[in-house]
């Protein structure tokens, strides 16, 4: 179940602005954000996608409960490149840091560009790999 539906009420109350903008989250990302979105899909989405039961999304949703900051990283409009770099290279709690062989500096820059771009340029939420593949299979 997608988180947006499960906690839509809470999000709508707490983050009216961000939630309203979810309507614009369809289609592909702007071409210059594609690389960053692919980095997000590969390295971040497995824990931070817009889905239930993910350690990253759940804990950020709890952390920011009662504020207008959304739990889904891809919906954040307050992140900056230094903050993103810090968390990718240092981790936090049980999120381990990522090595340069995993997320290169170029990947990190692209990821930062994606996560700091206007929401309407980011396109649809990134699906979990399993869901992306299930959809692909269903379309066959």
């Amino acid at each position: 179940m997608r988180l947006a539906f499960a906690v839509a009420g809470a999000l709508a109350l707490a983050a009216g602005g961000a939630f309203a903008q979810q309507a614009t989250r369809t289609g592909p990302a702007a071409p210059e954000l594609e690389h960053g979105k692919a980095v997000y899909a590969h390295w971040c989405a497995p824990c931070h996608a817009n889905s239930m039961g993910l350690a990253g999304t759940n804990s950020l949703t709890i952390k920011y409960e009662g504020t207008d900051i959304p739990g889904v990283l891809e919906d954040r409009t307050d992140l900056t490149a230094p903050v993103i770099t810090y968390f990718v290279r240092n981790g936090v709690a049980w999120m381990p840091p990522f090595r340069r062989t995993e997320v290169s500096d170029a990947d990190l820059a692209a990821l930062s560009a994606y996560l700091t771009a206007p929401l309407e340029d980011r396109g649809a939420h990134t699906p979990l790999l399993a869901d992306e593949m299930a959809e692909m299979e269903a379309a066959r």
Partner: protein, 529 residues
């Protein structure tokens, strides 16, 4: 090693792999520390001095030769996600991590002959995507976290969640390519025969097969590895059987052994419905009682609560009619032998599963099965169970027998009571059936980066549990570098003949002791006391 010698070593590495792929600064080395370490920031934490990331086999060979020349220990990792077992950290302070993540080619997936051949940096996510995008009709078997690799996971003898012959990942490997400690390149099995097209079909070739030396070992750097794959099954089915009394576990285990060893079931999950009562302090006190509760006490608690003592979640993969017949057979077999046993039909559907089926919310009863893993679909959903800043794991190997389960519950339950930790072992602890032919139990206390006292307690508890378990013939299957000597020491038959044999080979094959010295408890002469 002095500063100039270290600089010369790094310089040679840069010559081999390029300026951009050698690191030694604290910032760059931070992600190579074990983020789940119970000895974080203490003198016992073992940290690498540097990391080098080759792009291909020739560069790996060159790096090994350089390390040999400079006599610097190398610690090879594939994807380096070994959390709970040391992360990417080495056994020797100041080692250089040989990070193979850049070598990430899926070399072949064969859907007629059901195998794959991959490089070390290929993650389960990568392999799954590769297969799905091409519509290949094979299923992988993955551990819970999808970011690890078939090569790294198998070389630490990791486990997954499908049929027995696939979920023992080292057991399911077939053929490897290895860079030896002198930089030479070797292939095992049919890979040793020029022109053979059966490298991923016959693992042995001819003569002694050394492939076991590279798992939890330090005899070389694996650069390619083949794995057997299950043909994509047509259908998936689950069913639950519950048995009323505590001692019914003994017969239940025998039946499940029969079903599993006959190839009729995929991974199964044992559970005790009584775990639901652990929130009740009286029941918790009973289940964790020193010396263990009596069967009668546990049976009384079960009937008072109207719960069964044990349950087994069965999973079937295959043609629809076959899964139906296997479930019917399993159900009848157990119900006709254990009075009061009951069976519940679970979910069943054609594969591949839809998104909704992957969510696993249509199962008619509560289940611990994680549907994605059960269907070979990698994810990171498991991170939900991680507490605090991570954990360390001790997973003792246990005979596949109900009496042995009761004994481990009691012995390790008593031994762990002095530590202020959740009850990993109690009268309702069920065995894990991960490896194909044995049980295990789990001891995985959390660590807290900024609570050294807690971590020190966990560290003591880990060592204590390893020692107590060994007194009863239960050994760990896998351990972080900081525990590998403790665990290896428990495999001590005949004055440690096994370790002596391995160390004699180590000295012969790696006289400079440069490949992961200490890994698996095997130390080269240079590092032995």
């Amino acid at each position: 090693m002095d500063e100039s010698a270290f600089a010369a070593f790094l310089n040679d590495l840069r010559g081999a792999v390029g300026e951009d792929w050698v690191w030694s600064s604290d910032t760059d080395m931070f992600p190579y520390r074990d983020a789940f370490s119970p000895v974080w920031n203490t003198p016992e934490e073992i940290q690498a001095s540097s990391a080098v990331a080759p792009a291909d086999v020739a560069q790996v060979q060159e790096v090994v030769r350089i390390a040999k020349r400079h006599r610097v220990p190398l610690h090879p990792i594939s994807t380096g996600k070994n959390f709970g077992y040391g992360g990417a950290s080495p056994n020797v302070q100041g080692s250089a991590v040989l990070d193979l993540k850049r070598m990430d080619r899926v070399i072949e997936v064969n859907e007629e002959r059901n195998y794959c051949l991959v490089e070390p940096g290929v993650s389960y996510f990568d392999l799954y995507r590769h297969i799905q995008e091409r519509g290949l009709k094979v299923m992988i078997d993955c551990p819970d976290p999808g970011w690890g690799s078939p090569v790294g996971n198998a070389l630490d003898r990791g486990v997954g969640y499908t049929m027995p012959q696939f979920r023992d990942h080292f057991g399911a490997h077939c053929g490897m390519e290895v860079v030896l400690p002198d930089g030479e390149l070797m292939r095992t099995g049919m890979g040793a025969m020029p022109g053979a097209d059966s490298w991923q079909e016959y693992p042995y070739g001819f003569g002694p097969d050394p492939s076991g030396l590279f798992a939890q070992g330090n005899f070389g750097v694996v650069t390619k590895m083949g794995f057997r794959l299950m043909p994509q099954p047509e259908y998936y089915r689950t069913g639950l059987v519950r048995v009323p009394r505590r001692r019914d576990l003994i017969k239940l285990v025998h039946h499940v052994n029969y079903l599993s060893d006959s190839g009729m079931v995929s991974e199964v999950r044992f559970a005790s419905p009584l775990s639901a009562l652990l929130g009740d302090p009286d029941f918790a006190a009973l289940a964790t009682k020193l010396g263990g509760p009596s069967d009668a006490e546990m049976d009384a608690a079960a009937s008072a609560a109207g719960l069964h003592s044990w349950a087994i979640d069965l999973q079937f993969l295959g043609p629809e009619a076959a899964t139906a017949a296997q479930w019917e057979y399993a159900r009848d077999r157990i119900l006709s032998d254990i009075p009061g046993a009951e069976a519940l039909d679970g979910d069943h559907f054609a594969l591949p599963a839809t998104e909704a089926q992957l969510e696993n919310d249509t199962q008619p009863y509560p289940t611990a099965i994680r549907r994605k893993g059960a269907l070979g679909i990698p994810s990171l959903g498991i991170w939900e169970i991680v507490r605090d800043d991570g954990h360390v794991g001790f997973f003792p190997v246990l005979p596949r027998d109900g009496e042995a389960v009761f004994e481990m519950q009691r012995v390790l339950g008593d031994a762990s009571r002095e530590y202020p930790l959740p009850p990993y072992f109690s009268a309702v602890t069920a065995p894990l059936f991960w490896h194909s032919n044995t049980f295990q139990m789990v001891f995985a206390p959390s660590i807290r980066r900024d609570d050294p006292e807690h971590n020190a307690m966990v560290h003591r508890a880990m060592k204590h549990m390893v020692a107590v378990a060994a007194e009863h013939g239960w050994g760990d299957y896998r351990a972080a570098p900081i525990y590998q000597d403790d665990v290896a020491a428990t495999y001590s038959f005949n004055g440690g003949a096994l370790r002596k044999f391995l160390e004699a080979m180590k000295d012969a094959v790696d006289p400079d002791g440069i490949i992961a010295p200490g890994r698996g408890g095997v130390w080269p002469a240079r590092f032995r006391p």
